[in-house]
Symmetry: C2
Subunit: 125 residues, 2 copies
DNA sequence: TTGAATGGTTGACATGTGTAGACCGATATG
DNA sequence: CATATCGGTCTACACATGTCAACCATTCAA
């Protein structure tokens, strides 16, 4: 269970690659639009991420195609756990309560959450 | 609604100050034990935090006493919201579901969460 | 009076991250 | 052929953060 902890910029890149693997130039276009990054910015971030093993590249014709090397769920879980302990000392209740206090949550979403909890209860049995 | 976003080190300091306001030396002792920080490390981090307005100091006798300048709930909420959007695009359901998937949650905690949700439902009415 | 404790301040270095300009070779196209 | 585009590398800078050693002035106890 590796300790992945992505920066905001790294998340942007991963988001693209989780949608679909892409060449550097595809990333340049996507992130140029969505993040306003210059080509060299994209390139640098991508290179550093490859060095770290967050993504990997495969030569495909003239261009390299980049793939995520970690699953989105894994990265999301790692970030979330890290925050859970740093901020809430591991208390899920506190975290969820904060989450709920800070928004007007829709009736539908409440139902969904309750369903999630019920599911958790069953598994426990 | 200021954008507070504390680093891991800053959290350690704030944790101490949220327990109770403290002098630099009290922080040095506490963080020396809990974090293994040298006196100068504590001092530097504290100074930078004061510059940023995260904490404020009041002369009290020979020593300055440091106080948190932001509430814990505010800081916690800011971090949580930031993660919620960066990682889950704002979906509370996804976030909670990840949280639940990653642990065996106790029956009591489940009850608590359910109570939280029920409360949310009432408010909505 | 001298040495330890109190209560600091300063300057410095390493690493990670955000950001990009300059440059370069290959290829496609007018 | 010239030149634009594709696909990419390299170097560099700034700022935040983690980390500390060295230094200093004041006070208090032995």
């Amino acid at each position: 269970m590796e300790r992945v902890n992505l920066s905001a910029g790294e998340w942007r890149v991963m988001e693209e690659l989780w949608k679909a693997p892409a060449t550097l130039m595809e990333l340049v276009h996507a992130l140029g639009e969505s993040a306003g990054w210059a080509k060299s910015t994209v390139s640098t971030v991508v290179r550093r991420m490859e060095d770290k093993g967050l993504i990997r590249a495969e030569q495909e014709g003239r261009a390299k195609v980049f793939y995520p090397a970690i699953a989105r769920e894994k990265a999301a879980a790692a970030e979330t756990e890290s925050l859970l302990f740093r901020v809430y000392h591991g208390s899920v209740g506190l975290m969820v309560s904060t989450l709920l206090q800070n928004r007007r949550i829709s009736r539908e979403e409440l139902k969904e959450l309750q369903a999630l909890l019920d599911q958790g209860e069953e598994e426990q049995t």
